[in-house]
Symmetry: C2
Subunit: 407 residues, 2 copies
């Protein structure tokens, strides 16, 4: 096949920018939301496949199996039970939509709620994927102040009033209350209560993204906002990417039927049934054992990463100790431009997410970076951080000292 | 959860129309592209899952596994081999994009090539899903004449010249050359050659949808157009929905890298990896045995359907005998309005696709209907067709005689 026919001259206008051809992962792969390979429950998934296909394999012969467009019925039953037990929720099977990753859930929310020129509130540092999707639709994204406890609710209330006064009613507040991405804060029950109230009173919806809520090491986490009284304006989003496997492309959202029905009309072909069936069967049997094992490994990796950062960056790297999740949000001295550092590091096989890409105002995170510790081995975390410190020193003179020895 | 918050008043404008809540399939389910439940290779899929997860299960921990955004590498390797062996093609792994069903493939083609007001040529009777997707984008769909051999190429050449003369260069010709949907014709090699030439000369792309090309009962089928010299303007589409299972949501398209790269940028999260891995492993080992078994069952069902139509509708039902595929396109006498008949039949548990929904000009297929014979049992085909004839008689007086006995 050759390119003799000029398809490109026939492309529609305004298409998204293309990326260079994929050429494999970096040697030290600290970006994105990749997970721990050793925690993929290979044998558990094989057993689940055998069980569920012998029980219901013939349903694969029909579009949407025997379950309709909301998704596999056993998957929705599992989710209803899990969300009740671990997030305090009371969603019925018909209030849950299975999606191809939480990315599709966010896309559907944006599609049915947002038009170009609309305004959405996000945490000042937030998930790049969510921000990019909104901006691609021409939505005006406004950052809200974070502190160590997550969203600063009092500041947000003032901000919302100012917006409303100036004639702008935001479509929704997008928040990651449990293990905030990238700062890892957990919003307290008190703040959740207040956030529900100040948005409800003003008629502003909340999109609560709880993709990381299964990965808190402290077991006494707060319930989801959707579980609380007065949460009729909340849409809840979750995913299997973080507590099972991102390549499966399985996510979900919880919302009233009127919202889900409109999303179904937008969703197109649907989400693969084999994944839904297998994961539902596996999780129904092994959710707790699996998640506990995964969390143990992640916690150990977090500790290795922190140790490596302290050893190699010393006081140059500032960060909080995350109570869960898969990443660390690090602040380097203001001399370091992490966008430049990311380019230099990638050339030497170290990939991380530069702060500006995770920030509504890129300048506000000019010296920040995000390191995902779930995917690399403990040895790769040690070696990669040492290498990153070396590259950073060569590029910026920081960190000036490593393991108490001047370079 | 209740609906106290009025999400609907906040919906974006111009969203697609919603459907009534799904309430299960009709008793006699002759619609859509559902497949034969008995042919789902349950044990084969279980074995493939065990093999592939033990070999590569850990790759699920990364987005797009170890394969990049075009799709699972083993899936693309299987497809390259299969398309070479059975469709005569020479596509490399990097010219194949795995999609969530052929529906997503068509959506991506439309997205990168079409703007509102553009023109696309389709066969006068064609796949509803493809037509609806184009019209939802504001594309002007023009029908091209079909005869028993598929597209009438000479008539199409005249039609294209007239369009070009009037200032309209169609973006592409969408065709289903092998087991045309819904008429079941197979385009000859000679016509494929001519179609390539008349479109290539005029600078018009071809979208060749070969979703049914694996299901021809006669083994000497023509190669795909993309396999032929001078096919640089062809995009090839395929799917596992028809020769394995529609609920898996696995399709693919073949195109030059420049086209695929733009599609990747539009595709979003990607297609589930477990499905890709399992199906690639299964097909690599058992494609021919599986497809041959499926084809045998489908051919038997076709024969049962034809027998039932002849017994119950007599000469009132006109149809060709399909050489493959999963449906029959039936013409009833002009007194019968199949849209009305479909409503009446559905109330009594018989679901079929009325012709107008499968026709660029709805009026041209006012008395046609499409029956998919893959999903119902042979008994359900017999009983459902008898019931349909009875309902049709009650509604329209047709067929006047059944099994040579006046009603």
């Amino acid at each position: 096949m050759n390119d003799a026919f000029d398809f490109e001259s026939r492309f529609a206008k305004g298409l998204p920018v293309t990326q260079p051809k994929w050429s494999g992962f970096a040697e030290y792969n600290f970006i994105g939301g990749h997970n721990d390979p050793e925690s993929i429950p290979v044998e558990g998934l094989i057993e689940a496949t055998a069980r569920v296909l012998r029980r219901r394999g013939q349903t694969l012969a029909t579009y949407n199996q025997d379950s309709g467009p909301l998704g596999d019925i056993e998957m929705r039953q599992f989710l209803a039970g899990k969300l009740a037990k671990f997030r305090g929720m009371s969603a019925g099977e018909n209030e849950i939509l299975v999606t191809s990753g939480s990315g599709q859930a966010l896309e559907l929310i944006n599609q049915i709620l947002c038009e170009p020129g609309d305004t959405v509130i996000m945490e000042e540092f937030t998930y790049q994927g969510a921000m990019n999707r909104l901006r691609a639709r021409g939505v005006n994204v406004i950052g809200a102040k974070l502190d160590n406890g997550g969203l600063d609710i009092d500041a947000l209330a003032v901000q919302l009033d100012e917006l409303v006064k100036s004639g702008t009613l935001p479509k929704f507040v997008y928040t990651i209350p449990t293990v905030q991405n990238p700062t890892s804060s957990v919003l307290s029950v008190e703040r959740r209560r207040k956030l529900l109230d100040i948005t409800g009173e003003r008629g502003i919806a909340i999109v609560e993204d709880e993709c990381y809520a299964d990965l808190l090491w402290d077991e006494t986490w707060p319930s989801s906002m959707m579980a609380m009284v007065g949460s009729e304006h909340v849409i809840h989003v979750g995913s299997f990417s973080k507590y099972l496997a991102p390549a499966l492309r399985l996510g979900y959202l919880v919302a009233p039927w009127s919202v889900l029905n409109q999303m179904i009309a937008c969703k197109g072909g649907g989400t693969g049934a084999l994944e839904q069936m297998v994961v539902a069967d596996f999780m129904q049997n092994q959710y707790e054992a699996h998640v506990n094992g995964l969390k143990e490994r992640l916690k150990a990796k977090r500790d290795v990463l922190i140790e490596a950062l302290e050893a190699n960056f010393g006081t140059a790297a500032e960060f909080g100790v995350p109570p869960g999740g898969i990443y660390l949000w690090i602040k380097l001295p203001p001399e370091v431009d992490t966008l430049q550092l990311a380019d230099a590091a990638l050339k030497q096989g170290v990939a991380f997410n530069p702060g500006p890409q995770w920030s509504v105002d890129p300048d506000a995170a000019r010296s920040h970076l995000r390191i995902c510790f779930a995917n690399p081995s403990e040895q790769a975390l040690r070696d990669g951080v040492a290498k990153l410190a070396q590259i950073c020193f060569e590029e910026t003179g920081i960190p000036p000292r490593s393991a108490n020895v001047s370079r």
